[in-house]
């Protein structure tokens, strides 16, 4: 996820706590003995958190803040690193935290593949790894890592398709503003959306797919170009809120009314976007909740307490639309 | 090998290199308009002509730097066309190009053996062998320099000798030298001639370009004269007198070129009584020991000394381009800030540097821009340059110095060396300086232009400028200067006045002066 937004104090929403939707996507759970690590007292433990991208957008800021706050609450000593979008750095970050004596690792993977060397190092040191927000695809739970806590990005795309179908009445020409190329969030949010349209909203036709790099300015520029080349576009699916907000400006400067002439649906749930729904510029936003701290530490506590942990813990993401935006805006990050 | 004896007439000697009907033009400039050139084994062949006559261009065509637009090349009897300088070199033609063309960031030894490094086992470069070879070579050629020195840290003269050493050490059938002596002292010139004689004995053909007439008569057997890209004469050297040669070169009747003496300098000058520029105790560790000198208005002060004696360093220090550890520089009694070029220029001291290519011209700018460069602030109001005032200055000096260019807008690096030198002079004269420092001002310029520059120097002195003249051409130095300060190992060791100002005087001052090492 690469959302960003502005203004609000991250993590301020009192009701923004993550809720588990499903535990276990099939497969057995994982217990202390199976994973082969030693029991640790979390209140005295050294916990390492490896963040993947700069804390330069609301999602990352809220995510780091949530984990930092929860570590403090639990009493664990937290060391944090940031890979700055560099996979090699994430590997050395994790190894460095292991060298510094981390006993539990919370990792926000930069990519769904490629962390093997770091995971191997953790296994050798018998340190459990909890992955959050991005799922590792070929690594094995209870072996390479303990569990994954996060959203289902394909499902986010599917729900965005659903929302799109609802706000457009199932008919129209859609432009997709893609996230950064090569990012599996982009891939998942695209495939979920397309699959839904194919199956359930054949009246919606995708006329353009261009990358907006998860950035507002790029979203604005690309939308301007697309609207001129395809005046028939009636809806925009932006894969994050920032690009959606850029699209809003572009639609307006093309002399059309965002939210009315051109429907806009996006993913993330930042404060700015939800306010955009209230203002009528956006039509729907699918949430991607970044507050992993409490759930991550709870999971660790349960694990050390001997409980079996499900290989995937999918959290419940909200969605915002004109019906609930006003009421829920306080929960947006 | 003056005209003669040991050089028995050898029209029979094999022709090694022959060019016929060579044409070459650059964007709008016809540098060569159908030139024939024939070089025989064992001869020393002078290639002469005014600045811009096309000598260097011909050499570059002969050695594969340029491809001719038209014409043919025969080497050892077979038609050839060299695609790159490397091809000519492999075929046995080795060349010293005009202006030093070596790599300044590498050592002397590297420069000598680049491309043909001695190798030990595994094909690796054998540095020890290379240094030993270099030492032997340099010693053999009488060049006193440490082969481990970085080339760029050496004076231009030494660099030139290194270039020569590189060329002659290759086992070549033809050695081409484009103005190899322009920065050399009589002593080095003699070393070079000795080398050429040895080449001659090995039956190597030599092409020799120089603007120093006496050298040509001393060493060359045959001569080819170019004028405006055309061949105007080719024949044995002994058939010509010096005057005839000059007149053929310039294309003017004999009567017009007849002159007194060898230089165009007049007699002594009226000099003021108080010093215009006075420098005392200039020193910098490892470069200058203690240099004292002074120039009066209307006086030409010569700086004498051997290669690397610190003459160039001294004049650079005077204009603030060489920082000093100690020393006072005054103009009209006012102290100039040491190490600041701006304040030297403000005080009216300017320098025409020795290394035109590296320190003088801005290659891609036009003649006009190069001339007005230093004077720009004076030609502008509130930072906006006046084109009209520029054009006036440029026109004045191009005419006064007879700068030969297709237009003021021609790129300066397309001019011949001599004309580039005049552009440098124009740049500084446009500043109306008080003291003019000239480091090898006639380096690489033809007899005509040389005379013009020399008489210009005279004129300027008459007008009351103080002039410091550095020249490795001893004759020029002695005839031009009213007084000579002799440098040795970076210190001033003697001042020659009146009758002491003579070639012998300078020589003996150099020999005696200072503590010997």
């Amino acid at each position: 996820a690469n959302p960003e937004g502005g203004g609000a104090d991250p993590g301020a929403g009192s009701g923004g706590q993550q809720v588990t939707r499903t535990q276990d996507a099939g497969g057995p759970g994982c217990a202390l003995g199976q994973y082969g690590v030693d029991k640790v007292d979390l209140t005295k433990a050294v916990v390492g958190f490896s963040q993947s991208e700069k804390e330069a957008n609301p999602f990352r800021i809220a995510e780091t803040a949530s984990i930092t706050a929860e570590a403090k609450k639990v009493g664990a000593r937290l060391i944090t690193t940031n890979a700055n979008s560099d996979l090699g750095k994430q590997i050395s970050d994790i190894q460095s935290m292991l060298a510094q004596g981390a006993q539990l690792l919370i990792v926000a993977p930069l990519n769904s593949e490629g962390l093997e060397p770091a995971l191997r190092a953790a296994r050798e040191k018998k340190v459990p790894v909890i992955t959050v927000d991005r799922k590792l695809s070929s690594a094995a739970p209870c072996k390479d890592y303990l569990t994954f806590i996060g959203s289902d990005f394909v499902d986010q795309g599917r729900r965005a398709g659903e929302a799109m179908s609802k706000v457009t009445g199932g008919n129209g020409k859609v432009a997709i503003l893609l996230g950064s190329s090569g990012n599996n969030v982009t891939t998942d949010r695209t495939s979920g959306f397309k699959d839904y349209l194919k199956a359930s909203a054949p009246g919606l036709q995708i006329v353009a797919e261009q990358t907006g790099d998860f950035a507002r300015e790029k979203g604005q520029q690309v939308t301007e170009q697309l609207l001129q080349a395809n005046p028939g576009i009636t809806a925009i699916y932006a894969q994050n809120d920032e690009m959606a907000l850029g699209a809003v400006t572009a639609v307006r400067s093309a002399g059309k009314k965002p939210g009315t002439d051109i429907k806009i649906v996006s993913v993330d749930g930042t404060r700015n976007a939800v306010e955009g729904i209230i203002a009528g510029d956006l039509n729907a936003v699918i949430e991607s909740n970044p507050r992993f701290g409490p759930l991550a530490f709870q999971t660790a506590q349960k694990f050390y307490a001997g409980e079996t942990i499900a290989p995937t813990v999918i959290i419940q993401d909200k969605s915002y639309d004109s019906a609930n935006a006003k009421a829920e805006v306080a929960n947006a990050y | 090998m003056s005209s003669s004896e040991d050089m028995s007439e050898e029209p029979t000697a094999q022709v090694v290199l022959e060019a016929s009907g060579i044409r070459k033009s650059f964007a709008g400039v016809h540098a060569l308009r159908g030139v024939d050139f024939r070089l025989r084994a064992g001869e020393v062949h002078a290639l002469v002509g005014e600045n811009g006559a096309g000598k260097s261009t011909l050499i570059k065509v002969l050695t594969g730097v340029y491809q001719p637009d038209d014409g043919e090349l025969h080497y050892l009897g077979a038609p050839v066309s060299f695609a790159r300088p490397a091809a000519a070199q492999e075929a046995g033609i080795s060349t010293v190009y005009q202006e030093v063309n070596l790599v300044p960031s590498m050592t002397v030894a590297h420069n000598l053996y680049l491309g043909r490094e001695p190798r030990s086992g595994f094909g690796l470069v054998d540095f020890r062998g290379m240094r030993r070879d270099a030492e032997n070579l340099l010693e053999d050629l009488g060049i006193d320099v440490d082969p481990r020195r970085q080339l760029g840290s050496l004076g231009l003269g030494v660099q030139q000798m290194v270039a020569v050493a590189r060329a002659v050490s290759a086992d070549a059938r033809v050695v081409i030298m484009d103005e190899p002596t322009s920065s050399l002292e009589p002593r080095e010139v003699e070393t070079l001639f000795e080398l050429i004689r040895r080449l001659h004995e090995r039956d190597v053909a030599v092409v020799y370009v120089s603007h120093r007439m006496e050298e040509l008569f001393q060493i060359c057997d045959a001569v080819t004269v170019l004028r405006d890209g055309r061949l105007v004469h080719s024949g044995p050297m002994y058939e010509m007198t010096r005057l005839e040669l000059v007149s053929t070169m310039l294309g003017r009747p004999l009567s017009e070129v007849r002159r007194e003496g060898t230089t165009a300098f007049g007699g002594d000058h009226e000099t003021g009584s108080t010093a215009l520029l006075r420098a005392t105790g200039m020193s910098r560790r490892g470069v200058l020991g203690a240099v004292d000198l002074s120039v009066k208005p209307g006086e030409v002060l010569g700086l004498g000394g051997l290669l690397g004696s610190g003459r160039s360093e001294t004049v650079k220090a005077l204009v603030g381009l060489q920082s000093l550890d100690a020393g006072v520089i005054e103009v009209d009694g006012r102290t100039v800030r040491r190490g600041s070029a701006a304040s030297a220029i403000r005080a009216g001291i300017v320098l025409v540097p020795e290394d035109r290519k590296a320190e003088g011209i801005i290659p891609h700018l036009s003649v006009r821009e190069n001339i007005v460069l230093a004077a720009l602030p004076r030609l502008s109001k509130a930072g906006i340059v006046s084109r009209a005032r520029q054009d006036k200055v440029v026109a004045t000096f191009m005419e006064r110095l007879r700068i030969k260019a297709s237009s003021p807008e021609q790129k300066v690096n397309e001019l011949s060396g001599g004309n580039q030198q005049k552009v440098m002079l124009a740049r500084w004269l446009a500043m109306s300086p008080k003291v003019l420092l000239l480091d090898e001002p006639t380096r690489g310029i033809d007899v005509g232009a040389k005379a013009e520059v020399q008489s210009l120097v005279d004129d300027l002195a008459e007008q009351g400028l103080g002039i410091i003249l550095v020249s490795s051409d001893l004759e020029e130095l002695v005839e031009g200067a009213d007084r000579i300060v002799v440098l040795k190992d970076g210190s001033s060791v003697a001042v020659l006045t009146d009758s002491e100002v003579s070639v012998d005087g300078v020589m003996s001052a150099i020999a005696e002066g200072g503590a010997d090492e």
């Binding site: 940031n82 190329s181 090569g182 | 490892g286």
Partner: protein
């Protein structure tokens, strides 16, 4: 004015200059070791060395390019592309996994080299084109970056990145070997001499009859091939062809080379300096981690400041030499 004395003090200053990066590195190692007992451990340094090895391989080629007066911006993209190709080709066995990416990388280097050497285009623009092209090709081959090819779990190819000999990682051994060879190539072969000559004065090198064009072509092929090798090693380490790696890596490589005392203008430089430069970048990064408490934005500020300090020191040292 004793020349030999001048030479000797010049050589000494040169030594300091060339090993300026090494000096700073040793200093940081000592300070880091005293401050953090988890820093100077075989475990930590061993891991760092493996992680640094990819940049080290790339920076070796970059050093040669920069010595010749050029620059190669395409290495990051070529690195990523090669990783993907290696992971893809691993299905045909380890030899294919090694050769396919190297061949493609060398081909890219060849085209760049010809454009620079033969067509005389500015290296900056040519290799910027290479950067875009290789990244585009990578995305094209991976369905816009959505496909990640995996190296078969049992493939011997993985040893290239994950194996170790006597406790030293294979990538580290490769780096040691390559730098030994690279040092000899640069300092002791005619090819190396030519690189210095071209960087120090291209026109002069040409007039001296050196094969300027083929040397330039060679050095770009070399650089791209080394970037390809780094990508291949990385794929072996990760076990997959990750598409998002290598962005901005060219700047890290350039920084390492310059910190190592190589002159960007060309004509001067050493591979040992580059190795120290690479090590320095990774040690600084790890020390920032060890100190902790910086958020990512502050980390960037600190890295920038450290970079300025190191480069200024380096420049002052090399100026003192003149």
């Amino acid at each position: 004015m004793s020349t030999s004395q001048q030479t000797r003090s010049g050589a000494l200053a040169g030594l300091v200059q060339r090993h300026g990066a090494l000096g700073v590195l040793v200093l940081l190692l000592v300070v880091g070791g005293l401050a953090f007992d988890t820093f100077l451990t075989a475990y930590n340094l061993g891991n760092l060395a493996v992680q640094a090895s990819f940049l080290a391989v790339i920076a070796l080629g970059m050093t040669m390019v920069i010595v010749s007066g050029g620059i190669d911006l395409s290495v990051g993209s070529v690195y990523a592309l090669s990783g993907v190709l290696a992971a893809y080709s691993a299905r045909w066995g380890p030899i294919a996994a090694l050769l396919v990416p190297l061949a493609v990388a060398a081909a890219i280097g060849l085209v760049q080299g010809l454009l620079v050497g033969r067509a005389k285009l500015a290296p900056f623009i040519v290799t910027l084109g290479g950067l875009l092209f290789a990244r585009g090709l990578l995305q094209f081959l991976t369905a816009e970056g959505s496909e990640t090819y995996l190296v078969p779990r049992e493939s011997a190819f993985l040893q290239l990145g994950q194996g170790s000999v006597l406790g030293v990682g294979v990538p580290v051994l490769i780096v040691v070997l390559l730098y030994a060879v690279g040092g000899i190539v640069l300092q002791r072969t005619r090819f190396g001499m030519r690189l210095f000559a071209i960087g120090g004065g291209e026109d002069a090198a040409n007039l001296m009859g050196l094969p300027v064009t083929s040397t330039k072509v060679g050095v770009y092929v070399l650089s791209a091939t080394l970037a390809g090798l780094a990508g291949t090693m990385n794929a072996a380490q990760l076990g997959s062809g990750v598409t998002v790696i290598g962005v901005g890596l060219e700047l890290n490589a350039i920084a390492a080379v310059v910190i190592g005392g190589t002159l960007l203008a060309g004509g001067m430089g050493s591979v040992s300096g580059t190795l120290a430069g690479v090590a320095l970048l990774f040690v600084i990064q790890d020390l920032i981690n060890q100190v902790g408490g910086f958020n990512s934005n502050l980390q960037a500020v600190v890295s920038g400041a450290v970079l300025i300090t190191v480069v200024v020191l380096q420049t002052l040292l090399s100026r003192a030499r003149r």
